[in-house]
Symmetry: C2
Subunit: 211 residues, 2 copies
């Protein structure tokens, strides 16, 4: 994490339980809640800057309490997370963190993770953190900071693209990852690693939270 | 679920909490525990038929107690779930259910889900159930039973393949799904739906557990 987040979007999956994401929430300059996630924030004394969604899962008491900051978006084609992320973009935020986007229903988890590559061009930085790890979209060749021994998993979002790694324990060389497990459970050897991508490759990199 | 499972493999993710998977475990003809998952089984009075893995995460007390059913497999190239699934296959089981394969670290979750398409050719039936839904690998055109209104998500494991659906609220027609969210959050309209796959398509279908 080389820059600080200027906005945190909180989705309606598992609310963070661990110190790392909770500390980030407490010091966030702005918090945008996806619909019903406002309830979890409220219970922890965290006041959302805005609440965005189709409002089908927000408790009536929250609707009333936060009436002044609700932005209703009716659109069956995009999910609540995308509504909130687009709102963050149009509000001028440039370094976005997403919390609460995994856990509970796995199809939401998978969808939300994959959306990171769609969101990436909208921001200088967009990342997702769970109680277990951090997800970073990588759309072109990049050098990423890490800690020696840190568990790293690479997921190819479009397997026609080819990737090469440098600085990981089990190197990948000019390879197409055609199943999600193929780039998983690797390990950093130093304080950074290099991912070289062909033009049609796009990746999600998962960093296990150092213990 | 048209056939009954003759074996359940329990992986080391979130142990099931809901009635559905727990009932299946209680009536399972055989239970194979991936390494440390034996501890969760033991605490619920469930005795594994076999314990398979590299034994790096099994508590010493469990090692001693179940000494007669431990099968050590040392292989850095495959994960503990794959070791257990191959053991189930070589033991002659043909209708496999996998539990505890999601939850906790998301990179394990993603890897385990994708492995279903690798496991599918080894069995008559192989499925995965979590507290939220059921995952079914689909490698060729198929008709799948469902309940009207059930939430269905389709994940393309190799986006070069083309799919068509019939019996879902939002039809997909001769389409390549190039991001995981694209086939997610659909809905069954009747008691079955048809997936038509091009020869190079392979899918994971997610059925939300009916409430």
């Amino acid at each position: 994490m080389t820059t600080s987040y200027d906005c945190i979007v909180v989705a309606n999956g598992s609310f963070p339980q661990t110190a790392g994401p909770l500390e980030l929430l407490k010091s966030a300059p702005a918090i945008i809640a996806c619909d019903g996630a406002v309830q979890n924030l409220h219970e922890r004394g965290l006041i959302p800057t805005a609440i965005v969604g189709d409002l089908d899962s927000i408790p009536p008491a929250m609707l009333q309490l936060y009436d002044d900051r609700i932005h209703t978006v009716e659109d069956q084609e995009i999910n609540d997370l995308t509504k909130a992320v687009r709102f963050a973009h149009s509000s001028g935020f440039r370094n976005l963190l997403i919390l609460g986007a995994t856990g509970l229903r796995e199809d939401h988890t998978l969808g939300n993770i994959s959306l990171l590559t769609d969101y990436a061009p909208l921001f200088d930085q967009v990342e997702m953190i769970s109680d277990y790890g951090r997800f970073v979209p990588v759309l072109q060749t990049a050098t990423l900071p890490c800690t020696p021994g840190q568990q790293i998993s690479i997921f190819s979002m479009y397997p026609c693209g080819e990737i090469t790694t440098e600085g990981l324990r089990w190197p990948i060389t000019h390879r197409r990852l055609t199943s999600w497990w193929q780039g998983s459970l690797n390990e950093a050897t130093g304080t950074e690693f290099i991912l070289t991508l062909s033009p049609d490759a796009r990746l999600i990199v998962y960093f296990q939270t150092p213990l």
